[in-house]
C-alpha cells in the first residue's frame, strides 16, 4: 500500500469533503469546489501513463485512495474519472479538460447494466460502452432517486464527443470494481462512527461499548470491514487495462454481503438517532444500500465464479482460487 500517496490524499479529503459538504452536494447536484481541489491535486491522472502526461501508477497503488474516498464520502465520481482518463488516453483521447466523467456500461442491446443509474456528482460526461465500442457522451441531471441522490441521464439528443474501440465489458468490470471499493470505504466509515459512538454513549450507567453484546456486534462489523478492504484491494490488483470478470466475481459478493451486515449493525448501535435525516450515519448507509443494487448485485457474479470452478473441476479449490489471484 502506497502510504506516500495515501496520507496527502486523506488530508485533502479532510479539507474538501467533510460530511457537511457531502450533504450540501446531495441537495445541490455537484460540488465544483471539491472537483477543483481534486483536479488540481493531480490524483485524477494517476492511472494515465507517463507518456500521455499522467503519473503512470497502477490500480493497485490507487486502491487505498479509492477506499479512502469511500470512507470520506467523496461525493464525486473520482475513481470513475481516473479510470475514464486512463482508458481514453490509451486510445489516444485526452480528457484533462473534461471535468468529472461517469462510467456507463451497456449491454449489446443498449440497456444499462445496473438498475440504479450513476449518481451525477457534477459530471457532464460519461464514457459509455456497448459491445466493443466506447463513446464519450453528454449527461444531464436525471432527477432525485429514492435514495436521495441526483442521478445522471444520458443526453440522447447530443452527438458522441469521441468514440474508440474497447474490449467488451471492460467498463462494466471497472464500474463494478470502483463501486465496491467505495463501498468498502463506506463500510469502514460506518465502523469508525460506531466505535466512537458506543465508547461515548452511556446507557444503564456505562458506555455501550462495555456491553458484551455490543462488543460482539462491533467485532463482527470490523471483520466484514477488514474483509471488504482486502476484497477491494484484490479487485484493483490487476494492472491496466484493469479488472477482469472473475476479479469482480470474487469482490462483489463478499463486499455486498459484508455491507448488509455493517449497515444493520451500525444502525443497531446508533438506535433511533441513526435513522434521522440530520444524522451522518445515513450518508454512509444510503450509499451502501444503493451500491448493493448496482451492476447486478452479488448473484450473477457469484454464479460466474461457480461456473468457472465447474469448468475446471479436476483440481482443488486452492488451485482454483490461486489461479484467480495475481500481484
Amino acid at each position: 500500500m502506497s502510504n506516500d500517496l495515501l496520507e496527502p490524499f486523506q488530508r485533502l479529503l479532510d479539507d474538501v469533503s467533510p460530511p457537511e459538504a457531502v450533504r450540501r452536494t446531495e441537495n445541490e447536484d455537484g460540488a465544483p469546489a471539491i472537483w477543483a481541489a481534486l483536479r488540481d491535486s493531480g490524483f485524477v491522472d494517476a492511472l494515465v501513463s507517463e507518456e500521455h502526461g499522467g503519473a503512470g501508477l497502477s490500480p493497485a497503488e490507487m486502491a487505498p485512495l479509492l477506499i479512502a474516498a469511500g470512507r470520506h464520502l467523496l461525493p464525486l465520481p473520482f475513481g470513475e474519472t481516473m479510470a475514464a482518463r486512463a482508458i481514453a488516453a490509451g486510445a489516444g483521447h485526452r480528457l484533462e479538460d473534461a471535468g468529472p466523467v461517469l462510467l456507463w456500461p451497456l449491454d449489446r442491446e443498449g440497456r444499462a447494466r445496473s438498475i440504479v443509474p450513476p449518481i451525477r456528482g457534477g459530471a457532464d460526461l460519461a464514457l459509455v460502452q456497448q459491445a466493443g465500442r466506447a463513446t464519450l457522451r453528454r449527461v444531464v441531471a436525471g432527477g432525485r432517486d429514492g435514495f436521495g441522490f441526483v442521478t445522471a441521464a444520458l443526453d440522447t439528443g447530443s452527438a458522441p464527443i469521441a468514440s474508440f474501440e474497447l474490449a467488451e465489458d471492460s467498463l462494466l468490470y471497472w464500474a463494478a470494481a470502483l463501486t465496491v471499493a467505495a463501498m468498502a470505504g463506506a463500510m469502514a466509515g460506518v465502523l469508525d462512527m460506531s466505535i466512537a459512538y458506543v465508547n461515548e454513549r452511556q446507557q444503564f450507567g456505562r458506555p455501550l461499548g462495555k456491553f458484551q453484546a455490543i462488543q460482539q456486534q462491533i467485532s463482527v462489523m470490523a471483520e466484514r470491514v477488514a474483509m471488504a478492504s482486502v476484497a477491494a484491494q484484490g479487485v484493483l490488483a490487476r494492472p491496466l487495462p484493469g479488472p477482469a470478470a472473475l476479479d469482480v466475481a470474487v469482490a462483489k459478493p463478499v463486499i455486498d454481503a459484508g455491507a448488509s451486515i455493517v449497515c444493520a449493525a451500525g444502525h443497531a448501535a446508533f438506535g433511533a438517532i441513526g435513522i434521522t435525516a440530520e444524522h451522518d450515519l445515513s450518508l454512509f448507509t444510503r450509499r451502501l444500500k444503493r451500491g448493493l443494487l448496482a451492476f447486478g448485485g452479488a448473484q450473477p457474479w457469484a454464479k460466474a465464479l461457480g461456473r468457472a470452478r465447474l469448468a475446471q473441476a479436476g483440481g482443488t479449490s486452492v488451485d482454483f482460487i490461486r489461479a484467480l489471484q495475481h500481484g
Binding site: 458506543v198 462488543q215 478492504s229 459478493p253 461457480g306 465447474l310 482460487i321
Partner: protein
C-alpha cells in the same frame, strides 16, 4: 480501527516460497491417492505416524524453526504453502500437528537450550508428538481458573489434577500443561506455569472420550502426584499465562482457519461436474469460493506480517472468526443443495463426507479459542472494553 484496518495490506507469496508447492503436491499424490474423501475430510484429526515421519524426512515439520535445531529455516510464506497443500489434500496431520504449530515454537521461544536440543530435532523428524493441557472440567474459555497444581518437592515437582478435551493425549509423547504453581483461582492469571509432561510417567491415567461421530481423538487426563524433574518447567515459573497467549497466537496465525471443509467442498464440485443441472448450483458454489479467495488473501496479508517478525494476534483472531464461519457454512450450504435434489443423490462417499463435516463443524469455532472469546479480543483491539 485505523490501525487494525491498515494491517490488512494485500500481499503475495514470494516465488521462493511457491517453489515448494509442486514438490508437496507430488508427495501428496502418492500418499493420498486411494484415501476416500470421508477419510481425508478428517485431516486435522487424522493420526498417521507413518505419514508424519515421511513429512519429517522431507524436512516439512518445523519448517520455520532454525536449522541448528533440526528445523527448515524457512519463512512463514513457505510454511503457508506447505500447510495449504496439506489441508487441500486432506492429509492426516494430527500426529505432528500440535507439536509443529504450537509446542515447537513455544519451546523455541521460552525453553532452555537443553530443552531445545532435546525436543526440537525429534519434533522435526516427526517422531515426537505433543498434546495441549489447557482445558479442565471447570476451566474452558476461562483458562485462568485452572486447578491442576504442581508443588515443589525438593528439586522436583509433584503434579496433581485433571485436564480434559486433550486431543490425542493417548497417542502423544508429551503434554505441555498449564498448571497452577502458586496462589489459588482467586489469583487469576498470576501463579500459572507451563510444564513439559512426559506422558509415560507413573501416576498418569489417560481415558479417551468418544466424539459425536464415534471417533475417539480427545481424552481426559488424570495426574496423581506425578513426579516431574526440575527441567520439566518450560519458560518462567509464574509466567504461564503470557506464554499460553503467545502460543495461541502462533496457533491462530496460519492458513488453517479457512480449509477445514475444503475436502467436502471439492467432493461436491466433482459431484456437480457430472450433474446436468449443475448451473442451478453455480451461485451457491461461487459465493463460498469468493469468501475463500478473500480469506486466503487476508491470511497471506497476516503471513506477511509474521514473516516481518511481527505478532498480529488481533488480526489472526479476526481471520479465524471469519474463516471458521466459512468452514461451518460449507456443509450447511452443500447439505441444502444436495437435499433439494433427491433425483440426483450423492454417492456414498460424498454423503459420508457431508455427514462427518456437518457433525463436527461446531468444533471449528471452539478449538483454539471460541468465537465469543475471539470477538472479545477484537473488541479490545478496536478500543472497546
Amino acid at each position: 480501527m485505523t490501525t487494525l484496518l491498515d494491517s490488512f495490506v494485500r500481499s503475495h507469496i514470494p516465488s521462493s516460497a511457491e517453489a515448494l508447492r509442486g514438490e508437496v503436491k507430488a508427495f501428496l499424490r502418492s500418499w493420498m491417492a486411494d484415501r476416500p474423501a470421508h477419510v481425508r475430510a478428517r485431516s486435522w484429526s487424522g493420526f498417521d505416524a507413518a505419514f508424519s515421519r515421511a513429512l519429517g524426512e522431507r524436512g516439512w515439520i518445523g519448517l520455520t524453526l532454525p536449522r541448528d535445531h533440526g528445523g527448515g529455516g524457512a519463512d512463514a510464506f513457505t510454511r503457508f504453502v506447505l500447510v495449504e497443500e496439506l489441508l487441500a489434500a486432506g492429509a492426516p496431520v494430527a500426529a505432528h500437528w500440535i507439536a509443529d504449530r504450537q509446542s515447537a515454537p513455544l519451546i523455541l521461544h521460552y525453553g532452555t537450550e537443553a530443552q531445545r536440543e532435546h525436543f526440537l530435532p525429534r519434533i522435526c523428524k516427526g517422531e515426537m508428538y505433543f498434546c495441549i493441557g489447557m482445558s479442565e472440567p471447570n476451566a474452558g474459555s476461562d483458562l485462568a481458573s485452572v486447578r491442576t497444581r504442581a508443588v515443589r518437592d525438593g528439586d522436583d515437582w509433584l503434579l496433581s489434577g485433571q485436564k480434559i478435551w486433550t486431543t490425542y493425549a493417548h497417542k502423544s509423547h508429551y503434554m505441555i500443561a498449564l498448571v497452577r504453581t502458586s496462589g489459588g483461582p482467586q489469583d487469576r492469571q498470576a501463579g500459572l506455569s507451563q510444564f513439559l509432561v512426559d506422558l509415560s510417567l507413573p501416576g498418569i491415567d489417560i481415558r479417551p472420550i468418544a466424539d459425536l461421530t464415534g471417533d475417539a481423538h480427545f481424552n481426559e487426563v488424570f495426574f496423581d502426584e506425578v513426579r516431574l524433574p526440575a527441567d520439566a518447567l518450560v519458560g518462567t515459573e509464574g509466567a504461564g499465562w503470557a506464554q499460553v497467549n503467545a502460543e495461541l497466537a502462533f496457533e491462530r496465525s496460519g492458513p488453517e482457519r479457512i480449509y477445514s471443509s475444503i475436502v467436502l467442498l471439492d467432493a461436491w464440485v466433482r459431484h456437480l461436474a457430472n450433474l446436468p443441472n449443475a448451473a442451478e448450483h453455480e451461485a451457491r458454489l461461487g459465493l463460498l469460493l469468493a469468501r475463500m479467495a478473500v480469506l486466503r488473501d487476508m491470511s497471506i496479508a497476516v503471513t506477511a506480517r509474521l514473516a516481518a517478525g511481527e505478532s498480529p494476534a488481533t488480526e489472526a483472531a479476526l481471520i479465524k472468526d471469519l474463516g471458521t464461519e466459512l468452514e461451518q457454512d460449507i456443509p450447511r450450504e452443500i447439505g441444502e443443495a444436495l437435499a433439494a435434489d433427491p433425483s440426483a443423490p450423492p454417492d456414498e462417499e460424498l454423503l459420508r463426507t457431508l455427514a462427518f463435516v456437518s457433525q463436527v463443524n461446531p468444533a471449528f469455532s471452539l478449538r483454539g479459542g471460541t468465537r465469543e472469546i475471539l470477538r472479545g479480543m477484537i473488541a479490545r483491539g478496536l478500543g472497546l472494553r
